[in-house]
């Protein structure tokens, strides 16, 4: 049966090519658009750990909260918090602010976070390792920058200085942390708060004894009348923060992908009609020797899918070759486009769908070929 199908393809190479090109373009577009949201998600969740908890003032967003120093100090006495090497609880008082940088080359304005932290940061982020220089010293105007900073912006080489409200802060260390690709700058929390005239922490981060201890920890937090704080798992906080962006990116990707797939499917229908028409005689012969319409429908559908699949591979491959690793900053976030095997799988599924849908009508026509007239026809 398939042999008959493929002979039709050979007779109409341009029709087969049309399906290939259409599917390639649709899958390529879908995969490269999805690569933005995959890159975003990898960036967001790359360093999330299940035992990390973020505290903020009740009703306020993590990172934009105002936690007074006395309340923050009381957090140290809560149960279920893991102890660091020196025996003190792994709690990081943070004061985050965004300052603007100019992207290398393009000069695009992108904001990056400067986070004042306490010296428990190394225990909180065990996968943070220095690739150059050293950690900042408390009390000095020193900064540590992730390697992404130097890749994205100017002014982050070791020894470079940055003016913050008239005071020069120097970059003394560069680090990598897990899979994180965004620029983060750390400094001493008291120095940062003084520089930005703040009295409160914007959030407090801590590591639990174990991820299962979260409910007990939250109960202890709620039971303490001196603390008016909310605790959320880091994974939840991150998901909340990026929900809108992720939804938008995914929507755009699927919208563009579906529209192009619709176009490609219409093209495939036309091409398959042409292929079916070009072998009416063969189809009639097959019917004449006893095959029912069922096998003909199935064979045509399989053929349509077989024609669509190479397009999926080609499309995913093109998306990978053109866009993988490309840095984009949609809406001010810095994201590296990531084409993963999962996305290629999505592209293949998409192509299967296009092949199936595009094959239905032509398959029905193939099955309805009137045996006698088709056999008599000259063509």
């Amino acid at each position: 049966m398939l042999g008959v199908g493929l002979s039709g393809v050979a007779a109409r190479p341009s029709s087969a090519l049309t399906i290939l090109v259409g599917v390639t373009c649709a899958v390529g577009a879908l995969v490269s658009m999805l690569a933005i949201s995959t890159g975003a998600r990898r960036e967001e969740t790359g360093s999330v750990r299940p035992d990390h908890v973020i505290l903020s003032k009740t009703g306020e967003r993590p990172g934009q909260s105002d936690i007074p120093r006395d309340e923050a100090a009381a957090i140290l006495g809560l149960p279920d918090i893991r102890k660091g090497a020196a025996g003190e609880p792994i709690v990081v008082f943070e004061s985050m602010t965004f300052i603007e940088g100019r992207r290398r080359g393009t000069g695009t304005r992108i904001y990056f976070p400067v986070v004042g932290v306490t010296n428990t940061l190394q225990d909180y982020l065990p996968d943070l390792h220095f690739t150059g220089g050293r950690s900042f010293h408390s009390g000095l105007h020193e900064l540590n920058a992730s390697n992404a900073c130097a890749r994205q912006f100017t002014g982050f080489e070791l020894g470079d200085t940055r003016l913050i409200h008239g005071v020069a802060w120097s970059v003394v260390g560069r680090f990598d942390q897990g899979q994180a690709q965004n620029c983060v700058v750390y400094g001493d929390v008291d120095g940062i708060m003084a520089a930005f005239k703040r009295n409160t922490y914007t959030s407090v981060a801590l590591t639990l004894q174990s991820p299962t201890g979260f409910d007990a920890f939250r109960a202890a937090l709620a039971a303490n009348p001196a603390l008016h704080l909310d605790a959320v798992l880091e994974s939840v906080a991150v998901a909340d923060e990026f929900r809108q962006l992720n939804n938008l990116l995914t929507f755009v990707a699927y919208f563009v992908g579906s529209t192009m797939a619709l176009g490609a499917t219409l093209g495939a229908v036309n091409s398959l009609y042409a292929i079916v028409d070009s072998r009416r005689r063969e189809l009639a012969t097959v019917r004449a020797i006893g095959f029912g319409p069922g096998p003909i429908v199935i064979a045509t559908l399989i053929e349509s899918i077989v024609l669509a699949l190479p397009g999926a591979l080609l499309g995913s491959g093109l998306a990978w070759a053109l866009f993988n690793g490309l840095a984009a900053s949609p809406f001010g976030y810095s994201i590296e486009l990531t084409v993963t095997p999962g996305l290629a799988a999505a592209g293949i599924a998409w192509a299967l769908g296009m092949g199936m849908l595009g094959g239905v009508l032509p398959a029905l026509r193939a099955a309805r070929v009137p045996v006698t007239t088709a056999l008599r026809a000259a063509n």
Partner: protein, 390 residues
């Protein structure tokens, strides 16, 4: 003479083109749909890109924003005001402070914009105030002018006392502030924010407990638009190496920076639009090729009864252009219709007519490209061979 020829041409050819289109209705309908889909996507993507460029071009270049050098929301002290006003070329400088607020429940968020309504302040903004509200705003310390949409949303009228929960606490620690609505305003600035309330800076600063004497930025209007760049440099130079370094940008530069985040995806948008057109051209060219091949005998007959090669060529071209134009118009119409949905991420964005025009031009070009080869083939074909092809 020429007119006669054209009339004759049209009379003779319209039915021919029409019957050519409906020779295989299913195929024509499929091509029509495919072209519609491609051009609705073209309209949306290109509209987004061009619309953003047009919005940026519409923002004022003669109004500057002076803010702290670290970020757009890096505050500055009010003490810089007189120094900024003293700089030559500065016509008006108005301090602006921002805060967040909620009305009744946390889901009903508002932006608080505290300004000092000094002489000529309105020219540094893009606001249109309801009649009488400006005088009342200057007279009453607790006055509030509400963005028209917000007033409608919450049913606020002039004379209402509105209690708002601000992020900024008052002297007594309370975060409840009550303002008196004195009017409404409209804003043509796309970054203006739609849920804003204007209040008096002097009242706000006197009543709050922290950050006294600070502003988020100054709005500066220059005397001559051509002076904008010079004034920008002078302001930043004036405060360079001080504890209050400033960054001065025009409203247009700000809009550009803000929208560049979308522009950053230009490469991707171009690639997608390119892929759409390539796939479309490939598909339609194949269809046209096949269509002419099937019709060879008919075209042979036409030639036999005296149709010239050029007439055959034009006839096939006209068929393609007709289908493409109709389908592109349909697809672009769809994208104009759907544009407000896609554009809600960029407030104030509208579909630029130039996109529709260029879409139609692209459609004609695409039709010509996909039909040129088969049409030339048909025109060149030998009568005998064409008749025999059946």
């Amino acid at each position: 003479m020429r007119r006669e020829f054209l009339n004759g041409f049209t009379l003779k050819f319209i039915p021919l083109v029409w019957s050519g289109i409906w020779r295989r209705p299913a195929r024509s309908v499929l091509i029509f749909l495919q072209v519609s889909v491609a051009f609705s996507l073209f309209g949306l993507l290109q509209g987004l890109k061009t619309g953003v460029d047009e919005l940026v071009a519409q923002t004022r270049a003669d109004v500057l924003v002076v803010h702290g050098s670290l970020a757009l929301f890096d505050p500055l002290p009010l003490s810089l005001l007189e120094q900024i006003r003293a700089i030559p070329g500065v016509k008006v400088a108005i301090p602006v402070e921002l805060s967040g607020a909620v009305y009744q429940n946390p889901a009903q968020k508002l932006g608080i914009v505290a300004v000092r309504p000094d002489e000529g302040w309105l020219s540094a903004f893009t606001f249109t105030l309801s009649p009488g509200s400006e005088a009342a705003f200057r007279r009453l310390r607790t006055a509030a002018i509400v963005r028209d949409g917000v007033a409608r949303k919450y049913g606020w009228k002039t004379g209402d006392h509105i209690p708002l929960q601000l992020e900024t606490p008052q002297q007594d620690g309370s975060t409840t502030w009550t303002f008196d609505v004195v009017g409404t305003y409209a804003d043509s600035d796309l970054n203006g924010g739609s849920d804003n309330v204007l209040i008096n800076y002097d009242y706000f600063d006197a009543a709050r407990v922290a950050d006294k004497g600070m502003v988020k930025h100054y709005k500066v209007e220059v005397t001559e638009p051509s002076l904008a760049v010079a004034v920008t440099d002078q302001i930043d130079h004036r405060f360079a190496n001080s504890g209050n370094e400033t960054t001065t940008e025009s409203m247009r530069a700000l809009a550009q920076a803000q929208l560049q985040s979308i522009g950053d995806l230009n490469f991707l948008i171009r690639s997608v639009v390119g892929a759409v057109l390539v796939a479309l051209l490939f598909s339609t060219a194949t269809m046209m090729m096949q269509s002419t091949r099937e019709r060879m005998p008919e075209l042979g007959v036409m030639k036999t009864i005296g149709f010239s090669d050029a007439a055959i060529f034009l006839c096939i071209l006209a068929e393609a252009v007709t289908i493409f134009l109709a389908a592109a118009a349909c697809g672009l119409g769809l994208s104009v219709f759907a544009f407000p949905l896609a554009a809600h991420i960029v407030p104030g964005l509208s579909m630029p007519p130039v996109v529709v025009a260029s879409g139609l031009a692209v459609a004609v070009a695409a039709a010509a490209i996909s039909a040129a080869v088969p049409a030339a083939h048909a025109a060149r074909s030998n009568i005998v061979a064409a008749l025999a092809a059946g």
